[in-house]
Symmetry: C2
Subunit: 126 residues, 2 copies
């Protein structure tokens, strides 16, 4: 039987709001030893995703990039705890991305699924 | 039979030298739609790895971070084309990293193995 996302996902995801400066996002990423932050609004609803890839844009164009909203991706590809891991893996491959926020029934963030979580299935000889 | 790294790796890896400014690294990462660069010396020997995670350090401390050598990781965890994918996957998990440069017998870079390459094995229902 194919494992579900809930069995291998990270149960915490670091979030940030779009009005925060990119320096605040960089600090959260570095402190959290992670490459992905979920962007939420004041009510906690997902409005985007920002990664170390996006933060690198600030190094190239420091005068143009001020806030998280300037560089975040708004059309977020996500997953749910019940999704079979092979479907989630296909989403990563198809979009050339390395993480999927895990959302519950009310689209609240309850975790993060990364390529490294999936590779754990390989490392254990499934 | 367990697949080998050569069957799923990216056959190209973008490299850079340590004396380059972090802005040059950011440009290569963004243009290449990748999170990882291998750092090589003038003879092409691997001297480190620099990722979008490392480049984010320049956003936090722009005055302290000038060159790739300022932020790169020197002790590189790598793999070879013949390595079984479960061994490579364990290296990613154990070191909390998302890519392994693939080196040939003379430690020349011949590709890159990422968590996304490994998750492809899951997506295809192995
Ligand atoms: C297309 S990938 C290319 C770089 C690299 N392959 C990687 O996985 O990050 C980089 C972009 O993907 C976006 N991204 C990352 N995860 C995402 C997700 N779950 N949904 C939508 N976009 C995402 C980031 O915001 C970033 O702009
Ligand atoms: C420890 S990880 C933490 C962030 C995130 N989990 C990730 O996978 O990038 C970030 C650090 O790992 C380093 N790194 C990435 N790939 C590496 C590799 N193959 N060998 C050694 N260090 C590596 C980067 O240089 C960076 O400083």
């Amino acid at each position: 039987k194919t494992p579900r996302v809930r069995e291998i996902m990270d149960r915490t995801a670091v979030s940030i709001t779009g009005d925060q400066p990119v320096t605040a996002a960089a600090a959260k990423l570095l402190r959290g030893e992670t490459n992905h932050l979920v962007v939420v609004d004041a009510n906690g609803a997902v409005t985007g995703i920002v990664t170390t890839f996006d933060i690198s844009k600030a190094v190239l164009r420091p005068e143009k990039v001020r806030s998280v909203a300037d560089v975040m991706t708004r059309r977020v590809v996500s997953t749910t705890p019940d999704e079979p891991v092979d479907i989630a893996a296909q989403k990563l491959e198809r979009n050339n991305i390395s993480a999927l926020p895990v959302l519950d029934g009310e689209r609240r963030v309850i975790g993060m699924l990364t390529g490294t979580n999936l590779s754990r299935l390989i490392g254990r000889g499934r």
